[in-house]
Assembly symmetry: C2
Homo-oligomer: 717 residues x 2
């Protein structure tokens, strides 16, 4: 296909080799297979959990050292501190972009659109390679640690998916890390189930939100879902939670440096506002509308930025990509260091011993009220509190309750504008980048702004600005990503305040509705831009009036006879790029009969191995069964980390070209068919719901052999 | 079909009437329809929320008065108090069983298996009637208020589904509560989407757990799911949460009697244990195993009990049902009053002012340490604390933290045995009955027992018995209902302690796995017993080796010609009970051609209206389009609250019988077809995933007209 996009086959190809294999399976093998599935779910959970811990430890330590050092140096010289800060960031970002451009180009970006595409049925070349995994892990340490306006959550989802996929093929062949006995799963379908688990594990690890992970996998990424799978996905998420929690418990005593200080709940606001009055619903709705508008704008702007990058900037090679990332890094450093310098410090509020919040915060710690470029000792810089800080800590400060009037409106506004711009500009640079945390940053800033006005005008003691910040965060994510249930659960799990659930729901509903009026969600938009052909769950309205035949246009079907001459086959495969060919045979009475579908990849295997070549153009007897199945069904399995065979790779001598092949043993004998005048809506549903790759459009049948109803399918085991 | 079970048609019948209707639709009508869908989602939320509030107010007030009065009277005479208690319960239970047996027989039981069946594709007669709704609401007030060992959660799900279904058909025709302009939704499919919303609303209202509601609808009841629907279901749940919360806020000042004292979170244990050590995982796993065993045993016992009731006891008529319920009521009263009398009181623990728990609890209030039949003033009866109490309060006491050593092992054990027995015996009486709350009772009892041992042996200060009670509850529900994600979220939402999530997950995984080794979940078992033919999501293993033709057996297909003589049609409809008939026509060249599927219900409409009768056996011209569509497509819609037409209802004179009908305008021109040798696994997936009712098995096609791939379906609007 074009630009490395290829469809997957979620349908089971029931050819003779497969049936043979099925027949030979003992009860024991089935049990073994189920056990391996669960074992893999466990491994995916452990692997993703450990990857997340590793990334977190690295990022938090790099960022921790950076700020510790900088704060130490600016005691003496702001200029020296500034230089150190810029260089530190630059080195990290450079290493990230270097790894990505030189070693793992598929690791750039968030990866979620690609994974979405994979689970929808199209594979993008390179997206699940071992090198992509490595690039993703180390690249995101650099890009997040280097203080860019991006997050590590999207990359973690991709990481989980890579781990799952690599496990599924039994390790990476290229790096000789594979093992034969793990290669139980051979179909695209099993592979896809594992990747679904990996996605959920990624979200569960990124947000320490196991239920949110399951829902994310369900709502956002998978196009096809079975309830048996839910159970396994759930297990994987639970494992991730246990692994991360255990690691954090182990790190608590300071063994891991700066890591683990935040606790299992990332931004705990369980001490925040629990109640709300009807009056407050209005400002909350306003937050929803703002979220929808800003989110849709964000999607649109990033679309333009990515389009420009894709078609102009990044065409000029890796050097440009590296320079670009470095420029953005320096820019980000300058703004985040410089802007707070311009801001006048505010005096600390009167100490409130019950809240336990010190002002200014003690040096070398996390917390509110950062002292930065202040003359007076009991002063703090509100802009530095959010800007000159890691994103995690900034969000914690924005969400914090009991800190009324900490931030001033001008600070929040200037931060909002600057950070929004940075996030848009950073989007699409050649580093691993997630949109969750920047989205939360943006959202919580305007949320807190609205909260300040509410506090000012409503004069109620129980209103917390932090709660509004949380709602703002939810609204921006809703307006940009257009998720509902999963986002809601993730927000609750990361903040540990269940009582705000109805409010989060409300805000999300509004922001999604507003956003939907303008464009699609960011993942869909990006997928479209990258040429990933996603099939939505809903058929298009136009399809109601079209029939299956109309959808085929006036295509001339390229089909194969059952016994095909090798030279003919080669020339057919050369003459087009189709991946599936109907196979037509002649019945005894001379009529033609469609006997199945042959996949290009299977035909290529036949041509390569040459085992099936025969001298006579007569069918081998499929009834007797002897000597037909020369292939084990695993031979037909496409290796996940390579492009598979191509017709150009196959070289046959002139003797070979004169031989024949009987296609009967390898073809899929019963692809799904639709009558020519079925409406396209129905065809679409069939295609999409069952995860198909090819459907035959056939003439109306001449008779009905039988009718299958529910009763016929109620077969007891 | 047998015992009132009939299949639903989730497929859109694209006959001429439907196409006509589609063609006439303006853009405005589509917008109107979408708006109505959302409006209905809102109404379902409001309706279910209000129903839940009404049920809760009634139940809590009845129960409150009952215990208040009884406690007052036993100050003077235990015997008089006992009589009052028994009578009060008896009256409530009698009214419940009377309503159900005389007025709404379909309201008996939990209703979840039936709703599951409906969403799987089979309708059970009467399950969504208006009278069932009324019976369910008032019946469950009686049965729950009357202190039986059952809950109101299952019935609330059914209530939500009824409300949704009634809205969908624009009110109840029978009771003249319908309105024409609301009748926008005419297909089984739209109806089903509404019922899905209703289910989620029911759970959201029952547990005040909106996310749990969405997940329950997704995981447990629906067989078929679209992501667009999720969004609407989510909205409904959010509305329910807002309605219930608002009502509770309004009631807080005591306007609603005993209602609303518990707060929005039913059993808040956010002050409970937050941390756990690895040592504790062992007893927690033990809880999981116990839950799996007891849950599976519960399913098996209730299966026997229901089987016996269904086949012997309840065949003897309503009188027996009423007597049975009354006997069980008296028995329950005697045990719950009498057993605590036998138990010696324990001295109160030393007062702990920080915990804020008084011992014994002040009269007329809720709380731990109930004083019942104690001689000493500073004594309490631990058995009465759980047994002589509403289930809600008992669970609150069992879950409560900071009350170590409140319960003694013998009390908990004897309660466990008695309550388990009562729950099994009560299951299947002719009253609305849920299994959630009894399950939580049972589970939390043995959970607390295990917790007591852990506290005793591990000597750790931070272990709470209440946490173990919660885990026990989760394990029993997991072992009985076999839900995973939704149950987990519900448990978290009702207890407001997110940090226990991984533990709940672990326990659930174990108990479900253990339970699955013995039998199926309670809803599946009950559905099977009631003859509801559920299609599981996974095809049976045997199907891999079967073909579509084998599934049809040697059935002789009953088909119709395009132009059928009325007398022939009538005799065909009389001669069998099939609901779908292939229609065969002759092409110009004399070959036969399958032109579609005619549904019995549509044929009956034709026979009844007689509008299409014609004298000549010649086809009307479908191309010109004039005069063919004599029916509006709504005429073919089966009324949801009646059995629809039957061939016995149709009376034709001899002139009519000599006429002809052209079936072309009313038939479904493109039912899904499968080639005869497709494996049954694939057929099953097609049938199940697309929610079909009929599939034609046809001979292999003679040629392929076209091939549809992903590219052909990427049509822009
Ligand atoms: N064997 C065939 N004969 C004729 N047309 C075909 C054949 N296979 C596919 N097409 C058509 O060619 C167009 C391009 O499809 P393409 O060849 O990419 O399909 P494919 O490669 O088999 O499927 P995919 O690209 O999704 O893996 C589509 O419109 C499709 O209908
Ligand atoms: N038109 C028909 N001709 C012959 N056999 C049929 C026909 N319709 C259904 N059957 C077969 O009869 C058996 C009983 O099915 P039944 O008649 O109940 O189907 P139905 O009523 O059309 O579908 P359902 O009961 O699910 O609504 C099934 O095995 C089915 O395959
Ligand atoms: Mg292609
Ligand atoms: Mg039937």
């Amino acid at each position: 296909g074009t630009n490395g996009v290829e469809s997957l086959d979620y349908e089971v190809i029931e050819n003779y080799a497969y049936r043979e294999e099925q027949a030979q399976r003992g009860r024991l093998f089935v049990i073994y297979q189920v056990a391996v599935k669960w074992f893999f779910a466990l491994l995916i959970g452990v692997g993703t959990g450990l990857a997340a811990v590793f990334i977190n430890i690295s990022v938090e330590n790099f960022a921790g050292w950076k700020f510790e050092l900088t704060f130490k140096i600016i005691q003496h010289s702001y200029f020296a501190g500034f230089i150190l800060y810029v260089l530190f960031n630059l080195v990290l970002v450079f290493s990230s972009v270097y790894i990505v451009t030189q070693f793992a180009p598929a690791a750039a970006g968030s990866g979620i659109p690609e994974i979405k595409g994979y689970l929808n049925g199209v594979e993008i070349h390179g997206i699940l390679f071992f090198r992509t995994l490595i690039g993703k892990i180390f690249g995101s340490i650099g890009s997040v640690g280097g203080g860019l306006a991006l997050g590590k959550e999207g990359p973690l989802v991709h990481t989980g998916a890579c781990i799952a996929s690599l496990l599924g093929q039994g390790g990476s062949k290229k790096y000789h890390l594979n093992s034969r006995w793990l290669q139980v799963f051979k179909s695209d379908r099993d592979q896809r189930d594992l990747v679904t688990c990996g996605c959920a594990a990624g979200v569960a690890a990124a947000f320490r939100a196991p239920v949110g992970g399951v829902l994310f996998a369900l709502e956002e990424v998978t196009s096809w879902w079975r309830s048996q799978l839910m159970w396994r996905v759930f297990f994987t998420s639970a494992i991730v939670a246990v692994v991360v929690r255990t690691a954090m418990g182990w790190c608590r005593s300071g063994k891991c440096g700066h890591f683990g200080s935040g606790g299992f709940i990332i931004w705990d606001i369980s001490d925040g506002q629990e109640d709300y009055s009807f009056q407050e619903l209005l400002p909350m709705a306003v937050i929803g509308v703002i979220g929808g508008l800003l989110g849709a704008l964000f999607n649109q702007l990033t679309l333009y930025v990515t389009y420009w990058r894709q078609n102009y900037l990044h065409k000029r090679g890796n050097r440009v990509k590296i320079i670009e990332a470095c420029i953005i890094s320096v820019l980000t450093s300058i703004i985040s260091f410089g802007l707070p310098l311009l801001r006048r410090c505010s005096p600390c509020p009167e100490a409130d011993p019950t809240a336990g919040i010190e002002c200014p915060r003690p040096p070398g710690m996390y917390g509110n009220y950062v002292k930065f470029y202040c003359r007076n000792d009991r002063e703090y810089n509100d802009l530095a509190t959010i800007f000159f800080n890691t994103q995690d800590d900034a969000i914690r400060n924005l969400f914090s309750a009991k800190t009324v009037h900490e931030f001033s409106a001008p600070s929040l506004l200037s931060f909002l504008v600057m950070f929004y711009t940075l996030a848009v500009v950073t989007y699409g640079t050649a580093v691993p980048a997630g949109q969750f945390v920047p989205g939360i940053m943006i959202g919580s800033t305007y949320g807190r702004l609205v909260g300040m006005f509410v506090v000012k005008f409503y004069h109620k003691p129980n209103i917390e600005e932090g709660t509004y910040a949380l709602l703002g965060a939810a609204s921006f994510l809703g307006g940009s990503m257009r998720m509902t249930v999963s986002l809601c659960v993730i927000m609750v799990e990361i903040t540990n305040n269940l009582k705000l659930l109805p409010l989060i729901m409300l805000v999300l509903l509004i922001s999604k509705a507003v956003g939907d009026a303008f464009n699609e969600g960011i993942y869909e938009e990006q997928a479209r831009l990258r040429g990933i052909p996603l099939l939505e769950s809903r058929p298009k309205y136009r399809m109601r009036k079209m029939t299956a035949r109309e959808a085929c246009g006036n295509q001339k079907v390229v089909s194969l006879p059952r016994i095909v001459k090798v030279s003919d086959l080669v020339s057919i495969l050369h003459s087009n790029k189709h991946n599936g060919f109907p196979v037509i045979d002649h019945a005894r009475n001379g009529e033609t009969l469609v006997i199945g579908l042959a996949l290009r990849s299977h035909l290529l295997v036949l041509l390569q191995t040459k085992e099936d070549f025969q001298h006579s153009p007569l069918p081998c007897d499929t009834q007797s069964g002897t000597g037909i199945i020369r292939h084990h069904f695993t031979e037909f399995v496409k290796p996940a980390s390579s492009r598979g065979l191509s017709i150009e790779d196959i070289h046959l001598n002139s003797d070979d070209l004169e031989m024949y092949i009987d296609l009967a043993p390898i073809l899929n004998p019963s692809p799904y068919v639709v009558p020519e005048d079925m409406s396209l809506t129905k065809v679409y549903n069939l295609f999409r719901q069952l995860g198909l790759r090819h459907i035959f459009v056939v003439p109306r049948a001449s008779r009905v052999i039988g009718l299958i109803t529910r009763k016929d399918l109620l077969i007891e085991e």
